[in-house]
Symmetry: C2
């Protein structure tokens, strides 16, 4: 990993710089900061292009191994306030790799069918296939975020979920899925600016949801709900990272770097051929043109 970090603008790895335990309570977190990265926007954008190629290479090796019988996958869980830029991460970081290697799932308000099952039912069904990078745009953590803030189920019910989630994630990791959890944090001022832009531009109206303003009134409750998640569901098995999201370029670079780190930790190499290479070379050489 060290070779990628040298002279890159990073003063430490993204994983170290952004782990929730390192950056402190969310209520005191600066959404305009760039923890661990000393470069500016130009440097960050230039680096993202370069690192995108590294990510694409690693994704292809993961995919190739999945084809060859390896059972590993990666799951990126994206959470964040409205307008924090989760969709932008999917587009601009997910967009760096072969889309065949992605498994993207957005979780909205549960459907009646989903509500007719336990809260993890829809999550299980959406887990990435082996060899893929799964991206969850919202996730099972919704069931302890808006659900907790608005008491959509009794407190006794959502209280139990933290441990259920930990157990679920332990099982998932034990089955070969690397789990990275990312909370994107935007400032109130930046959220206001982004809502304003969505209203000012007709090509952004479809992204505007009047309900976002209603939710904004619960800002501090959401910070509490996020902090509870970090306190109870951050662990080395399935770590949580805080991504300052006021600077989109940094959020993208940081998530790209976290994915690269996770893939590098798998220490994958190109899978060995399951056929006799020399014999096949001979067969191919003998083919008519």
């Amino acid at each position: 990993m060290a070779k990628h970090q040298k002279n890159s603008g990073w003063t430490t790895t993204a994983a170290e710089a952004l782990r929730v335990g390192r950056v402190g309570p969310i209520a005191e977190f600066d959404p305009g900061s760039t923890p661990g990265f000393a470069g500016d926007k130009d440097a960050g954008e230039k680096l993202l292009t370069e690192r995108g190629e590294a990510l694409a290479d690693l994704q292809e090796i993961l995919f190739a191994n999945g084809r060859a019988g390896d059972h590993r996958s990666v799951l990126l869980v994206l959470q964040g306030m409205d307008t924090a830029g989760k969709g932008g991460i999917v587009r601009h970081v997910g967009g760096l790799v072969d889309p065949q290697g992605l498994s993207i799932k957005g979780f909205g308000k549960p459907t009646p069918e989903e509500l007719d099952h336990d809260f993890l039912w829809r999550i299980h069904r959406a887990l990435p296939p082996i060899g893929r990078i799964g991206i969850f745009d919202r996730s099972h953590y919704e069931d302890v975020l808006p659900v907790r803030v608005h008491n959509l189920v009794p407190k006794a019910e959502w209280e139990k979920r933290y441990e259920v989630i930990n157990q679920f994630e332990r099982d998932l990791v034990a089955s070969g899925t690397t789990v990275i959890k990312v909370a994107m944090v935007v400032s109130k001022a930046e959220q206001k600016a982004r809502l304003t832009e969505r209203l000012d531009r007709p090509d952004k109206h479809w992204k505007y949801n009047p309900g976002d303003i209603d939710e904004r009134a619960f800002w501090d409750d959401y910070l509490d709900a996020y902090q509870a998640i970090f306190d109870r569901c951050d662990n080395d098995t399935a770590p949580w990272y805080l991504i300052p999201a006021d600077k989109k370029w940094f959020a993208r670079l940081a998530v790209c770097e976290l994915l690269i780190g996770a893939l590098e930790n798998l220490e994958l190499t190109w899978p060995a051929a399951d056929f006799d290479v020399e014999a096949e070379k001979k067969r191919v050489a003998e083919l008519d043109d």
Copy 2:
């Protein structure tokens, strides 16, 4: 559409140039040609970058309309000889747009569960959601390609499938899905070169399948099976295009252009807001920073 074509290197639209009825029988088709395009590789690659942005914009409008209740979608069906570059199209053309707007499905040898249903069962389950661009890497046409070449079901059975497929596609189009079908044609010499490369490079071994050489022995039978498809399943509702695939840059440019044309034909505009824009502007303006 005309404005995009001007000075672009295209002498006619890709849809006109590549429609199977226009380019003639597959057995006489030149996989190294670039029908309708007068530019060289440099011009083609430059144009693809530019047109990729147009495709991304159109995809976002399609997606926004899907969110706003419009029921349309696009389905790109990819067929082709082994090594023709279907995966490259998904990666390099699919990769031009927001991966959230894609719905990619590869169809391999049917599973026991799939074989326990009619041949369209797995196809129905994989159709793109509204607002999405679906890409099928292989498709229901496998059921009249290898199945026909090797008589995996009795002839009386596969003979019926052409009309079943036509009916299926008519229903699909009537439901709001634009269907574009693309057959990628590689020459025997180029296939040999690509197989050789896969064997020479350890990072390509995972893409090599000894069975591809066995299939190559049935080359002319496949050409016949493709021609039967074109003769019986090409129509204005769900047209077939022949893509010469020896030049990867051209195949990518051509498929990108076909997708752009299909999306432009939908004549989509940004969906109107379903809320009171001025009232919301006022609400946002009054928010604390």
